[in-house]
């Protein structure tokens, strides 16, 4: 008697594989028809992304500032050289002019 009951219980509780697509169907019903199983992406916190953007902007800004400062220094130095060159040119032309004038006089 007990053997018979035990056999019936074992038959009733035996492990069975679910039919194909069972899990998807269950999930589709719980989440609605448009449900698509998705992988969970690892997202960085917003504050860290903002900090990275700020760092990048600052780095670019500092680079540009330095470049402009260097170009300004180069330009100012070149300008001084140019004015000096023009002063010398002017002085030498004037000297030649005076010499010619003194010869003619």
């Amino acid at each position: 008697m007990s053997d018979h009951l035990e056999n019936e219980l074992r038959a009733a509780l035996r492990r069975e594989d679910p039919p194909e697509g069972f899990a998807e169907r269950v999930l589709a019903r719980t989440h609605g028809a448009g449900y698509r199983p998705e992988r969970r992406a690892r997202r960085l916190p917003v504050w860290s992304m903002a900090a990275a953007a700020a760092c990048l902007t600052m780095t670019i800004g500092i680079g540009e500032y330095r470049e402009r400062r260097e170009e300004r220094a180069r330009g100012e130095a070149a300008k001084q050289e140019l004015l000096e060159a023009m002063r010398i040119t002017r002085a030498k032309l004037r000297l030649a002019q005076e010499k010619v004038r003194s010869i003619h006089e």
């Binding site: 170009e71 300004r72 180069r74 330009g75 100012e76 070149a78 300008k79 050289e81 140019l82 004015l83 000096e84 060159a85 023009m86 010398i88 040119t89 002017r90 030498k92 032309l93 004037r94 000297l95 030649a96 002019q97 010499k99 010619v100 004038r101 010869i103």
Partner: protein, 182 residues
């Protein structure tokens, strides 16, 4: 490369070489030799402004300053400016050969000596040369020296007498008949 491409490539190369040659003709290569005098000089000015550096310098000239505005106008057309000016404590720091090496470069038909003023009394000499191409002044050279000083100016690019005169009131090339140096 196609025949068309190689022909154009050849023409471009020729044009580039001609341009480089023309530009080089206005530049005094002997200026570099003068750099050896720097060690002997008690005072020196060494200016080399070419290409982008010259245009960069021009950008920094003030438009509100009349002198700088005038320089800017003149310089905008120029290709290069070279100045070597030396002052020495003693006589004989440079030789006549140093000056002659530059003078030789200025003996090509494109260069004309427009001023040659020298004084035996004080031993000073001033020579002004103009480089001309197709009737246009495309370069200027000044050779000025005394017993204890030597100055060479080389301006490369189109420059008119009016431009030079406009740089500073009285400043200008003396109005003298041009003697074409042979």
């Amino acid at each position: 490369m196609s025949r068309w491409g190689s022909r154009w490539g050849g023409r471009s190369l020729c044009a580039a070489l001609l341009l480089a040659g023309a530009l080089q003709a206005q530049e005094l290569t002997g200026l570099r030799l003068l750099d050896q005098l720097e060690a002997k000089a008690s005072e020196k000015v060494n200016v080399t402004l070419d290409g982008n550096l010259l245009q960069l310098a021009a950008r920094f000239l003030s438009a509100s300053d009349p002198e700088q505005a005038q320089v800017r106008k003149v310089v905008s057309k120029l290709k290069a400016i070279y100045v070597r000016a030396f002052e020495f404590d003693k006589e004989g720091a440079f030789s006549a050969a140093d000056v002659d090496s530059l003078r030789r470069e200025l003996k090509t038909p494109e260069w004309s000596r427009i001023v040659d003023a020298s004084s035996k009394r004080d031993g000073e000499s001033s020579e002004i040369y103009l480089h001309q191409q197709n009737g246009q002044v495309t370069g200027l050279a000044i050779l000025a020296y005394g017993k204890k000083e030597l100055t060479v100016v080389n301006i490369v690019g189109p420059i008119s007498i009016e431009d030079l005169a406009a740089l500073g009131g009285e400043f200008g090339i003396p109005k003298i008949e041009r003697n074409r140096k042979k």
